[in-house]
């Protein structure tokens, strides 16, 4: 589905939001050795300093726990575990790497082109940002899927800051209510933006949530009302 496409925000708000994802075609032309290619894609991504990494079956680099230690309330580990994502890849599925820096994303795309994995690779960000990635790698864009935003009964949608957070999971796993609650936590100084961003990240089931962008949005929301 279009799980990275319809992120709420202006083009400028995607300056720290670059998702590069790889997938193997499922139809009659499916690629051989796709699983190895996807694993290689994830391994290479780690070299370029992503802020999240994930596969659509098992989730991202910050995950919920099925057996949480009660003492974790006082010392929650919010660090991403990138290697766990690589090691946990067992099926051919969509794999994503999220970057908060244009240079890193451009260098990663160039490297992926050189690796010639045979997988379909997409860059989801501002239109100009993706064009820059392609130009740096020396490849013309093949196809583009434009987001035309949200319409219809938009009165059912929350404010812009909540939308910017919740739409970073296109599958809809991050509720508007939780995003609003995290903004309130930051405003009340009950949690840091980093802690709240990690909380939101755990709900993303495919690892495309950008905790770095979320931290920035939460920090902005501390003092600004959208």
């Amino acid at each position: 589905m279009t799980n990275t496409l319809h992120r709420f925000g202006s083009a400028a708000s995607f300056d720290d939001d670059f998702i590069v994802f790889a997938m193997a075609c499922k139809g009659p032309f499916k690629q051989e050795n796709a699983l190895e290619g996807l694993r290689r894609f994830l391994q290479i991504a780690i070299e370029y300093g992503p802020v999240n990494l994930g596969d659509a079956r098992h989730g991202g680099a910050i995950r919920p726990s099925r057996q949480m230690n009660p003492f974790a309330h006082w010392s929650r580990d919010n660090r991403p575990d990138f290697q766990a994502v690589v090691d946990g890849l067992t099926d051919v599925t969509t794999c994503a790497a999220v970057f908060d820096d244009r240079d890193k994303a451009e260098q990663f795309v160039k490297r992926i082109k050189e690796e010639n994995l045979g997988l379909s690779v997409n860059v989801s960000t501002s239109i100009a940002g993706a064009e820059d990635c392609c130009a740096y790698a020396g490849i013309p864009r093949h196809s583009v899927g434009y987001s035309l935003g949200f319409e219809g009964k938009t009165e059912k949608m929350p404010n812009a800051q909540v939308m910017m957070l919740s739409t970073m999971c296109g599958h809809g796993m991050i509720s508007h209510s939780l995003a609003k609650k995290m903004i309130d936590f930051v405003k009340e100084n009950r949690r840091t933006p980093e802690q709240c961003a990690a909380t939101l990240t755990r709900f993303c089931s495919c690892g495309v949530f950008n905790p770095s962008r979320a931290t920035r949005i939460l920090e902005d929301a501390r003092t600004k009302v959208s």
Partner: protein, 282 residues
């Protein structure tokens, strides 16, 4: 999804994480309760909340003591302290809620996790959207509002009446009892899902007509709509055809996903039969 009342301590954490706002603390039962009609079986509560396995009686006692002293109890916000959520066996037609709402459950028709197909994401291999085409993904219910199949049918019928062809591998298409009219099978029309995507492909010349048609349908349905427009770029990587049409219609094109054309075709194989989540079309 069910909440075990013997385990629930009414901490309220789950009321915030439900994308549909379908969970509330029942003031009489003093337990978290799910509004079954609003729940879309996305499993966010079960999959997203970390689980502790604390003794429910102990937790309730501590919470009562703190509440009596007006002390704010502040656990981590994404934890169910007693692992009270328990998935139940879903049967038809309720099972379609999960198929369209829980992205970890692949549709058997597409093999893709989520609610749509690969659309332009593998266009470099499939050639699904060619030069002169526009592939539209019309998603109802996103973000965080949800949609009933009755509203989805309103959209699919309007598009069918305009003579467009639906993407064969899309899960919505395979739930139609009559693809020619865009009619969705009667027994699921009141089912609610987190979102669903209607996919079509039309010649560029019809792009504006289709968008205006979607705008008209949006006035009649009780949810939000997000449109994606997929196009094939020219040899230089440019799109000088569709973007101007979209901008003329008032769209501010800020974001896109860009297929960078690195995919390689494998050897051709026979396509599998069309089935959605193990259920036949009749």
């Amino acid at each position: 999804m069910q909440i075990n009342p013997k385990k629930c301590v009414a901490c309220g954490n789950c009321t915030y994480v439900c994308p549909m706002g379908a969970i509330y603390i029942d003031p009489v039962l003093k337990r978290a309760t799910i509004d079954r009609d609003e729940c879309v079986e996305c499993y966010t509560c079960f999959n997203g909340l970390s689980q502790e396995h604390l003794n429910p009686t102990l937790v309730r006692t501590v919470r009562k003591m703190f509440a009596a002293m007006r002390i704010r109890f502040e656990p981590e916000p994404d934890v169910c302290p007693t692992a009270a959520f328990e998935p139940d066996e879903l049967t038809w037609p309720r099972v379609v809620r999960r198929a369209f709402s829980d992205p970890r459950v692949p549709h058997e028709s597409t093999g893709v996790e989520g609610r749509g197909t690969e659309e332009v994401k593998t266009n470099d291999v499939t050639g699904r959207v060619g030069p002169g085409d526009v592939g539209f993904t019309i998603e109802l219910g996103r973000p965080g509002v949800g949609a009933r199949f009755r509203d989805i049918q309103e959209m699919s019928r309007a598009l069918a009446a305009a003579g467009v062809a639906f993407e064969k591998k899309n899960p919505i298409t395979s739930l139609m009892s009559d693809v020619a009219t865009g009619t969705i099978r009667e027994d699921i029309l009141d089912e609610k899902v987190l979102s669903a995507i209607v996919e079509i492909k039309v010649p560029v010349a019809r792009a504006e007509e289709i968008i205006r048609l979607v705008w008209e349908v949006e006035k009649r349905i009780d949810t939000v709509v997000s449109i994606g427009a997929g196009v094939r770029c020219d040899a230089h990587g440019d799109d000088t055809v569709v973007a101007p049409i979209l901008e003329r219609l008032g769209y501010d094109l800020a974001r896109a996903k860009t297929n960078i054309g690195l995919g390689r075709r494998g050897a051709p194989a026979e396509e599998p039969a069309l089935v959605v989540s193990g259920f036949s079309r009749t």
